[in-house]
């Protein structure tokens, strides 16, 4: 029998597919081995996908498609599931093959220039324009949303190393010195903290010298509210989650991304155990099985610090039965500061906010009742319990109660975190806590609550700054990030910066925010705004967006139209 010849018909139809392999992208054995070597042995965890992506991105300075396909195979995930997560986060440089099938090499070094509002008024634009030519081809220079060091604006980050009050020369010197990482600076370590009476309170709690009811009552009496921006009463939250069925989880939000906000970092860099003790007290009072700390990726030194201190804590636990504590690393997504988006991200998914109800207190992380807190809220717990609710509540001004940690940046003489009475006015804050305005600058406007909180004119610098006091003005205090603008700035430019930020950071899930921020950005790029259309757009974004990002995104635009009409003439 003659072996038959197979008829090969080339009918010219390019869609007829002759495949030498199974359908789809094949996993490259070398890429597989490379990825395998970066990952822990044993079964890989779906919820650690973002962590694994970090491992690859750190090692290869990018996420090449062959590595993503390999990771998918190792994790028994679909390639799309890995890709959609990888491509969601700005800090992952996802690279596909070119037409020749080659993956372009990663840039040797990346310099990120913060273009947050505080850095922009401090000259980030000029820096961004100058650096590429100065640093040469091997260095990639890109703009980055607020990196959370607004007190030292403008800031450029050389790989992971922040250059404060950056000018082109300083950045070039940092690059030349090969200074690309960031070590923690001096802080109160475990020994010092314990020597100063630290962890005594949590021991008292766990060993029965205090009861949960009493601790919760202190929070309630002090009227401690969530300090991430939403201001939900902390004590009530503890009660709600405590009443839910076990196992319950705790998620700590240190994804401090609201432009102008840096208070969490400020405290964490100085006194991390005060926060950890607050976290342990919360875990005890609410009955928490495991705590997850979500730290924004930009805070590299804080990550090192927390890893170190958590290890130290585990090595010498101040209390028996330390709950399981996992530190998770964000990957460049402002929206992950939204509580449910953060939960999604901890679960290893795209950081897309969930629809509520159900609320995270009932169905949160891994579907369990979850106590979610901003860093600072927990940071206050020890001090409140030790000093009493009355001490805290007695601190306010203009009829308000408590203390607020204001992150102040912009045109003031002494920017930084200012612990000041709740209800203080902007003018008082600048004059009493910030050394007044910068030389040659006169107060023109201010952002009372970061990018989301709106823009107020100097004429309204005497209203109390606190939760609930700014709503009548179409603004809110949020995370108490105050950015001060002067006569050298324009509200319209600030609004463009902020809307660009929201457009960049919208997760893309819902129409009003995904399409709305993009359309708003185009509409306000023109000299003459279509104000009726912007007003309509603003309405649908406020009413119909899934989360606070989209709901608050029109605030700067509305404020310009309301308070700065002369700029639109």
């Amino acid at each position: 029998m003659n072996p038959p010849v197979i008829p090969i018909v080339d009918d010219g139809d390019s869609r007829r597919r002759k495949r030498a392999h199974s359908k789809g992208r094949q996993v490259d054995p070398q890429a597989l081995a490379e990825v395998r070597s970066l990952l822990p042995a044993g079964e890989l965890r779906r919820d650690l996908l973002v962590e694994y992506l970090h491992q690859i991105n750190d090692r290869y300075r990018q996420l090449a498609a062959p590595h993503l396909a390999a990771l998918a195979q190792l994790m028994k995930l679909a390639q799309a599931e890995v890709f959609e997560v990888a491509s969601f986060y700005h800090h992952f440089d996802v690279v596909r093959e070119d037409d020749a099938g080659q993956v372009a090499p990663a840039p040797a070094l990346t310099v990120r220039v913060c273009d947050g509002i505080a850095c922009e008024v401090a000259g980030a634009k000029a820096l961004l324009e100058r650096l590429p030519a100065l640093l040469g081809r091997g260095v990639r220079v890109i703009a980055a949303p607020c990196v959370g060091r607004c007190e030292a604006a403008p800031v450029a980050v050389v790989h992971q190393h922040p250059v404060r009050r950056a000018d082109a020369g300083a950045v070039a010197r940092t690059v030349a010195a090969g200074c690309t990482t960031h070590e923690p600076e001096a802080y109160i370590g475990l020994g010092e903290y314990v020597a100063g009476g630290g962890y005594r309170l949590v021991r008292d709690c766990i060993e029965g010298r205090r009861d949960a009811e009493g601790v919760i009552r202190v929070l309630e009496d002090a009227a401690l509210r969530g300090l991430g921006g939403a201001g939900f009463p902390a004590g009530r939250k503890w009660r709600i989650v405590r009443a839910e069925p076990a196992p319950r989880l705790l998620a700590v939000n240190i994804d401090e991304g609201e432009p102008g906000t840096f208070k969490d970092r400020w405290y964490l860099e100085r006194d991390p155990h005060r926060f950890i003790e607050g976290m342990l007290i919360a875990a005890w009072a609410v009955g928490i099985d495991a705590a997850y700390i979500y730290l924004r990726d930009e805070y590299h030194a804080c990550r090192t610090l927390l890893e170190r201190e958590l290890d130290a804590l585990r090595a010498a636990p101040p209390v028996a039965a330390l709950p399981e504590i996992e530190l998770r690393r964000g990957a460049g997504a402002y929206v992950c500061g939204e509580e449910s988006a953060m939960i999604e991200s901890i679960e290893g998914k795209r950081g897309m906010p969930r629809l509520r109800p159900p609320y995270v207190a009932q169905v949160g992380l891994f579907g369990r009742p979850t106590l979610e807190h901003n860093f600072e809220t927990l940071w206050w717990v020890r001090e409140l319990v030790e000093r009493g609710a009355a001490w805290f509540a007695g601190q306010g001004r203009h009829g308000r109660e408590g203390l607020r940690s204001f992150s102040v940046s912009g045109r003031v003489r002494q920017p930084g975190v200012k612990l000041a009475p709740a209800g203080i006015t902007l003018r008082e804050l600048v004059d009493e806590y910030c050394g007044g305005m910068l030389e040659g600058h006169r107060l023109y406007a201010y952002l009372p609550g970061g990018a989301s909180g709106g823009i107020l004119p100097a004429a309204l610098a005497d209203i109390p700054l606190d939760f609930d006091t700014l709503q009548p003005y179409g603004c809110f205090i949020g995370s108490a990030a105050i950015v001060v603008l002067s006569q050298h700035d324009r509200a319209i430019d600030a609004a463009r910066n902020l809307i660009r930020f929201f457009e960049h950071e919208s997760c893309g899930q819902c129409t009003p925010c995904r399409v709305g921020t993009a359309k708003a950005s185009r509409l306000i790029a023109t000299d003459r705004w279509n104000e009726p259309l912007l007003a309509e757009l603003s309405q649908v974004m406020r009413d119909a967006s899934i989360c606070g990002l989209g709901q608050a995104a029109p605030n700067p635009v509305d404020c310009v139209m309301k308070y700065f009409p002369e700029e639109l003439q």
Binding site: V5, G24, A69
Partner: protein, 941 residues
């Protein structure tokens, strides 16, 4: 019995939630969202991302409504009403949001329409949204890389309906939502062109897309069909219901319809494999072999070339030649000189009438069909063990199971929609145990994947049972009350400790122990199997082991608990039920049973002696009998043994040796090449009839197209041939082009002789579209789950039958060192006669491929894509190498659909002694690089 699950009971008992909708007092049923209540109440709320059948995503925000006391609006699709809630859908504020969302989306839609039904445009009209006032986005380029589906993301509104269809529904996990913000984009795999992605073209995304961003590549979404005909899919045994959309007497496109087996899902074959009926090679005229054209196995070639062997004939002449020759052979050589192969692709009525013709007209029981080649061993073991060859539970019961074992089956390829239920179950927490020498797409979803050595099924299954006995995990009460023969089984299992079987099966003993425990201890375990179990010389033994496994643990007879041999063809269950089996009348009544004979003689109005008391010949036995000169004439309806029989060269030689071969088909198949008379028949969408799926669900296929040329209805052809055997079947009322009434008449006759379907009247079937048997009467809903309190055996008990290791008939050796495994590929059905003539399917898989592990290919010095040569002791083929990590080392997999490289030329016709099924899953072959084949021109075989 059909027990109501706890979840269902909870749903029934749950309180209704009263609330106010646009000023009206209404009630929500448990679990209903506002939009669902509004739909029931006739209150229109705009919606895009929400669609019935998919989980609500709440992302488009077109359905925002005002809820009294809430700060912002709420999405009606996600929000569940609370008691006393006051919901307003039509306030200025709500309407403003609804309109503006539509306007924002519409502002980014392209000028060109990709579908007639763009839901954004529909709602824009409905809400009187004017011309969008926003500037359009920069638009992405089109992706036309896939043969079936065109991707136009300029029309995408990021609603993720396609993603949910792909991921949540079909679990194919190809589509992702990547990037962020305004750049958010639907992607395939790693943002690859769809045509180069892992997409299996089920088309669920197309069905889900509201804007035509994903649409059939044919442009069908822009056509205005003249009619829509509800029918079922003509391919596999899952039995998906579908709708044919017809224009100009052609099927323009197909949509999934909500049937019990598919709930509107389809796979690539069902959705895109419909145009074969209008292929230019379609037989439209009766053909008679030209005088002087000899018949030989070597003449089997492609249809175009084979056409020259035949001349056109008028129907009268063709029928006279066919009927006259067969009649003459019977008269001269006796009843046993004739045989008939019916088809599992035909309707129940065709199958029934065909076997009736053979039994009454030809005068013997020489009637069989391809069930012999697929599940004969499963059926034999099931009949022996539990008295019924059908499944105990429908496939969809996997969603109620805690543990599902899939063994020797590749459902993502062969039963794709069934596979979606398995994957859905896994996502909901069911543990899947995949047991197969070959990997498959299911492996990724499996809790444990046992990639055991080919041919060691009995060793593995006995080891599992050994563990169950040894560790006391049996169900003693079930064994005592419902079974017999356990002691002998237990005795036999002694020698099968997993530790002893580990070296044989290649599976660690501890893994076998773990799997045995999982299966035995679970609340509800189901076993599904396919031809990897049945197509061995020990196929019956393999199935016996699975039955014993379920009996000893009592894992049968409850929802989510039982045995399911996945049936291959769309009507293999029905064709078997209808009596296309040499040893059984309809409803599995044995021909050797005098009582059964007398029942059928009475029903058919003939004297009892007219019915042959001996079992007839099976498929492979018929071929041998032809070469032995015993069978001389055959009538083959819709079967293609020249491709589907093992040792195809031998089968072709046999067919060529027939005095008369009459083939009734829609294409000039490899079998028809050897025919004397070819009757051009009706394609599936050209006729009406009932079809029984793998779940024992009887469904209706409806005529959607006219017959082309002078093609005729199959039922009519059978009744015409019957006249040559003195059978007057005119009373059925078959006409050449319309047999709808005849099908009804035949079905009603079947009900009379088949107690299992007694309760399924033709009218009821038309009305309900799908009825499960056993069904005893009009009011009987049919039994989805059987064996709940007894088995249909003489003593009502299930019977344990021990099995021991029997090696494959032909083991690899130095000369033929590799194992050949045959089977199917996703896009091509069976012998390829239909699917290789379906444009999209052929474009996706255009050429013959053999799959080998990449390392084996490397060892053989063959690069993926190069031509390779496979030889066995029986034949040889040349085809292209495809690297496939799922194929085990030392094995080569070839589908039997390639006429130019017929895998069955290689296979071993050795038979299972009980069921007479050939060993398609195992024979020894040699693989080498083909010399100079690449790029060579077409030539004859």
């Amino acid at each position: 019995m059909n027990a109501v699950t706890r979840a269902e009971r909870a749903r029934l008992q749950a309180h209704r939630v009263p609330f106010t909708l646009d000023g009206r007092e209404v009630e929500a049923r448990a679990g209903e969202s506002i939009i669902e209540v509004a739909r029931r109440e006739g209150v229109p709320i705009p919606h895009l991302c929400w669609t019935p059948g998919l989980d609500a995503a709440g992302n488009c925000r077109a359905c925002m409504v005002e809820i009294e006391g809430e700060r912002v609006l709420a999405p009606a699709c996600c929000r569940k009403p609370a008691p006393g809630m006051v919901v307003k859908t039509d306030t200025d504020r709500a309407r403003h949001s609804q309109r503006l969302v539509i306007e924002l989306l519409q502002s980014d839609l392209p000028e060109d329409a990709y579908t007639r039904d763009n839901e954004v445009d529909d709602w824009a009209r409905e809400l009187a949204v004017g011309k969008p006032r926003f500037e359009a986005r920069a638009q992405p380029a089109a992706d036309r890389s896939h043969p079936a589906i065109a991707v136009h993301l300029d029309a995408c509104i990021q609603c993720t309906r396609c993603l949910r269809a792909c991921r949540d529904e079909q679990n194919n996990d190809v589509i992702g939502l990547a990037f962020r913000g305004a750049a958010t984009q639907i992607v395939f795999d790693i943002a690859d062109p769809m045509g180069q992605s892992t997409c299996v073209a089920c088309g669920e995304c197309v069905q889900a897309c509201p804007t035509g961003a994903l649409a059939d590549a044919s442009g069908a979404a822009l056509l205005v069909p003249e009619k829509a005909v509800d029918s079922v899919c003509p391919y596999c045994g899952v039995g998906c219901q579908l709708t044919y959309h017809v224009k100009d007497d052609r099927i323009a496109y197909v949509t999934g319809r909500s049937g019990p087996a598919n709930e509107a899902r389809l796979c690539v074959k069902g959705r895109y494999g419909f145009d074969y009926a209008r292929h230019p090679q379609r037989l439209t005229v009766p053909l008679i072999r030209r005088d002087g054209v000899p018949k030989s196995a070597a003449m089997v070639t492609d249809a175009a070339q084979a056409r020259s062997y035949f001349r056109e004939a008028r129907w009268e002449e063709a029928l006279a030649r066919a009927g006259g020759s067969l009649r003459a052979l019977r008269d001269r050589h006796g009843a046993k000189a004739l045989a008939g192969f019916g088809s599992a692709k035909g309707s129940n009525e065709e199958a029934y009438l065909f076997q009736k013709l053979v039994r009454l007209g030809f005068g013997s029981n020489n009637v069989d069909h391809c069930t012999r080649l697929c599940h004969a061993s499963s059926v034999a073991a099931l009949l022996e063990g539990i008295g019924s060859g059908a499944v105990s539970n429908p496939v969809i019961d996997v969603t109620r199971a805690e543990v599902v074992i899939v063994i020797g089956a590749n459902p993502t390829v062969n039963h794709p929609v069934a596979a979606t239920w398995i994957k859905n179950a896994v996502r909901a927490g069911t543990k899947l145990i995949l047991i197969d020498p070959r990997g498959s797409d299911l492996a990724r979803h499996a809790h444990r994947f046992l990639q055991f050595a080919p041919d060691t099924d009995v060793a593995l299954l006995n080891a599992l049972m050994h563990v169950i006995v040894e560790e006391g995990l049996t169900d003693p009460r079930f064994i005592a009350e419902r079974t017999s023969g356990f002691d002998a089984l237990r005795e036999n299992l002694r020698g099968y400790a997993p530790e002893a079987m580990a070296p044989i099966t290649g599976i660690p003993a501890e893994t076998m122990r773990e799997v045995a425990r999982l299966y035995a201890k679970s609340r509800a375990s189901m076993i599904l199997w396919g031809m990897g179990i049945s197509q061995h010389v020990h196929g019956t033994d393999n199935a016996r082991c699975l039955i014993a496994l379920s009996l000893m643990t009592g894992q049968i007879g409850r929802p989510g608990t039982g045995l399911h041999p996945l049936r291959g063809q769309n009507n293999v269950q029905g064709a078997s039920d209808s009596g296309l089996i040499p040893m059984m009348y309809p409803d599995y009544q044995r021909v050797t049973d005098p009582a059964a004979r007398s029942r059928f003689a009475a029903a058919w109005g003939v004297a009892e002696h007219r019915l042959d008391p001996h079992a007839g010949l099976t498929v492979v036995e018929v071929m041998n009998a032809i070469l032995a000169g015993q069978v001389r004439g055959m009538y083959v309806l819709g079967e293609n043994p020249a491709m589907s029989d093992p040792d195809a060269n031998h089968a072709r030689e046999a067919l060529a040796a027939l005095d008369t071969l009459v083939v009734q088909d829609i294409f000039l198949t490899e079998t028809a090449c050897l025919a004397d008379v070819i009757l051009p028949a009706s394609a599936f969408p050209e006729k009406s009839g009932s079809f029984t799926n793998t779940d024992r669900l009887v469904q209706i296929g409806r005529r959607a197209l006219a017959l082309p040329g002078r093609a005729r209805q199959d039922l009519w052809c059978i009744t015409e041939l019957a006249r040559w055997f003195d059978l007057d079947w005119s009373a059925y009322g078959a006409t050449p082009t319309d047999c709808d009434a005849a099908a009804a008449a035949v079905f009603e006759e079947m009900r009379g002789v088949m107690p299992s379907i007694a309760g399924i009247g033709w009218q009821r079937l038309q009305r309900e579209g799908a009825v499960t048997y056993p069904c005893s009467g009009d009011g009987d809903p049919g039994q989805r789950v059987v064996f709940t309190d007894h088995f249909p055996t003489p003593d009502c008990r299930g019977r344990f039958v021990p099995a021991d290791i029997i090696p494959a008939d032909e083991r690899p050796d130095a000369e033929y060192p590799l194992v050949l495994i045959t089977g199917r590929q996703l896009e091509h059905w069976h012998t390829g006669s239909m699917t290789r003539r379906a444009g999209v399917l052929d474009a996706i898989e255009p050429e013959a491929v053999a799959m080998l592990h990449p390392l084996d290919l490397e060892a053989l010095g063959i690069r993926p894509g190069e031509a390779l040569h496979i030889a066995s002791r029986r034949g040889e083929v040349t085809l292209y190498a495809r690297a496939d990590e799922a194929t085990p080392r030392g094995a080569v997999f070839v589908a039997f659909c390639w006429y130019e490289a017929a895998a069955n030329k290689l296979t071993n016709p050795a038979l299972d002694p009980v069921a007479k099924i050939p060993e398609f899953k195992y024979c020894a072959v040699r693989v080498s690089k083909a010399a100079g084949a690449e790029g060579a021109p077409a030539s004859s075989v």
